[in-house]
């Protein structure tokens, strides 16, 4: 839509023409400046990729990618050195799985209640509470995991170590729950009332409407929310740094201390490993893996939303 105040056919000469020219130049300049601001976002992405690529490549000249991706011992800072990332991946997946097991059922249940059963007054009371839950800084959740959840777990299951994957997973599940709940709630609310009312008219109970009409209709949004929840769990740092431990190992026992990819990056940053060494570059290699996996998950969520979105009218 060309709305520049530039006359095309009649060119007034003299002072008015000069003023128009000035306006036009000013408009072009402003547009260029604004476009540059938008390009900054592209520069950020390029910057992330460049940093990870440069440091990562220089790491992979020392350590073969095969050893990195398939090795099962992660000891880059101790002798004898070993650079197999699988323990970190295993730790990350263990915590992520636990968090998803909590966030997904509870989040969907909350969303179903909010959209299908709750009165308008309940909704206006509960939605802000969910927003509060979502807005609490992650370091607070980490503190909660360390000082409340771990002791409680230790009382229930004495085999629980001081740092363990289960506390982190439980707390992370609580942290991600509002995300799942609000995304699913949005998806359910997008289903037109006419579908529900048709089902009610046929004598369905609210549960049947929710499970047989609304949920299938909103499935793309619900699945996308699961994928985004997993992506968020993988990238979460503070909860695991505080509660899950710093001992990378391949284990399925959630009561043990483990280390996740993000936890390792924080551990090295807090330590005194000199920059420029292979040991320090391990954080960029792990960071590349982290970035790639969350990016893939986010793209998948986007794909799911677009591909399976129901067209209602």
């Amino acid at each position: 839509m060309n709305n520049e105040a530039v006359v095309s056919s009649t060119e007034p000469a003299g002072a008015l023409g000069a003023q128009r020219l000035r306006h036009e130049l000013k408009e072009r300049l402003i547009k260029a400046l604004l476009a540059l601001s938008a390009l900054v976002s592209v520069l950020i992405t390029l910057g992330i990729v460049a940093v990870l690529l440069v440091e990562g490549l220089s790491f992979f000249t020392e350590v073969s990618p095969w050893e990195f991706l398939t090795g099962s011992r992660w000891a880059p800072l101790l002798e004898p050195r070993s650079y197999g990332v699988l323990p970190l991946v295993c730790g990350t997946l263990l915590v992520t799985l636990g968090a998803s097991l909590i966030a997904i059922p509870f989040g969907v249940g909350t969303a179903i209640y909010l959209s299908e059963y709750a009165s308008r007054r309940s909704r206006t009371l509960i939605k802000p509470v969910l927003e509060i839950l979502a807005g609490i800084p992650t370091v607070v959740y980490g503190y909660f995991a360390l000082t409340t959840v771990t002791p409680a777990l230790q009382q229930l299951l004495p085999a629980t170590q001081v740092f363990n994957a289960a506390s982190a997973a439980i707390v992370m599940g609580i942290m991600i729950l509002p995300l799942v709940a609000s995304l699913c709630d949005d998806a359910f609310r997008a289903v037109p009332q006419s579908l529900r009312q048709g089902a009610f008219a046929l004598g369905a109970t609210p549960m049947e409407v929710a499970t047989r009409v609304v949920l299938p209709a909103a499935l793309s949004g619900v699945l996308a929310s699961f994928v985004l929840a997993v992506s968020r769990a993988i990238g979460e740092t503070m909860v695991v740094a505080m509660a899950a431990g710093s001992t990378p190992k391949l284990t399925l026992n959630p009561l043990e201390s483990i280390q996740t990819m993000t936890g390792y990056i924080v551990q090295v940053s807090l330590g005194d490993t000199p920059a420029g060494t292979t040991e320090f570059r391990t954080i960029f290699a792990v960071g590349t893996l982290l970035f790639a996996s969350t990016l893939a998950l986010n793209l998948l969520a986007h794909r799911i939303l677009r591909r399976f979105r129901e067209v209602y009218e």
Binding site: I112, G135, I136
Partner: protein, 293 residues
């Protein structure tokens, strides 16, 4: 007519029972989430409320738990927040204005849009790594407040762009058309009509984005916010510490006394966040009450 005691009616009773059970189940899941929030806040209050006093707010951290306070952390948070706002708001709003008002539907602009959506989902620690390589080491800013603020700017920029775009999109097209009809240029329309109309919504979202940034720990750890800082930042090149990192530091120590300090600091941080969010909600209410068109 099927009654409640006919075969179809008995079936109906079973379905109704199932529905009641299902409703209870969903209510229980929601109740569990709320209950856990209460437990969290309750344990925080129990452990930390007694420690929040004026001395706590005005003392520097110390090796002795009894004398330690959050003065440097609060000052650092304030500095970083202001700097981040100064950098990210103009940049974010300008980008949003370009994408909504100026950009034609070209290939490049589509790429920019997808890119921004992806950036919003990148883990915050990756921004920390970018900040470390680019600002701390690359440009040579070192472990300074400026490096921290620039890192957080990159973190909140996608969120601000997305939120500002929505606010701009909510301004009705008739307003723009009226302005163009009177002969205004595009920039005049944006500056004098679209932006003022979109401002309340943008302000709300920006405040919410910044309040998220205040709670960020991982990127600032990577950029080198130190954990023992006993001074208030006095220049852009100062070293610094922020509230979340101070909390992390205290919580990571084995002594109980420091855990109580961490709880007190968390309460201060939550109070700060709550007031920011309340302010944002207040702005949203005011905006929704008196429309400017």
């Amino acid at each position: 007519m099927t009654g409640i005691n006919q075969p179809a009616g008995r079936h109906l009773r079973a379905r109704r029972r199932r529905d009641l059970f299902f409703r209870g189940l969903c209510l229980a899941t929601m109740g569990a989430a709320l209950l856990l929030l209460l437990v969290l806040l309750g344990s925080l209050a129990r452990q930390g409320l007694s420690g929040v006093d004026w001395d706590f707010l005005t003392s520097f951290p110390s090796r002795r738990a009894a004398a330690a306070g959050v003065k440097s952390a609060l000052a650092g948070t304030f500095w970083v927040m202001v700097l981040t706002a100064l950098c990210s708001i103009p940049l974010g709003v300008a980008a949003a204005v370009y994408l909504e008002e100026y950009a034609a539907k070209s290939r490049l602009n589509a790429i920019i849009e997808v890119n921004i959506a992806n950036l919003a989902g990148v883990p915050s620690i990756v921004y920390g790594m970018l900040g470390l390589a680019l600002f701390v080491r690359g440009i040579g800013l070192g472990r300074s407040v400026l490096a921290g603020a620039l890192t957080l700017t990159m973190l909140v920029l996608p969120v601000i762009i997305i939120a500002s775009r929505e606010a701009i999109r909510a301004v009705p097209g008739s307003l723009r058309q009226a302005s163009y009809a009177l002969g205004a240029t595009r920039w005049q329309t944006v500056r004098d009509h679209v932006l003022p109309a979109a401002l309340p919504g943008m302000l709300t979202s920006v405040i919410l984005a910044l309040s998220r940034a205040i709670g960020e720990t991982a990127p600032l750890i990577m950029v080198g916010a130190l954990s023992y800082v006993a001074f208030v930042p006095n220049s852009l090149k100062s070293e610094f510490v922020v509230m979340p990192i101070q909390i992390f530091n205290w919580a990571s120590r084995p002594q109980e006394a420091f855990h109580a300090l961490a709880a007190s600091a968390i309460l201060v941080l939550l109070a700060l966040l709550l007031s920011m969010n309340a302010f944002a909600v207040y702005l949203r209410h005011r905006a929704e009450r008196k429309p400017t068109w």
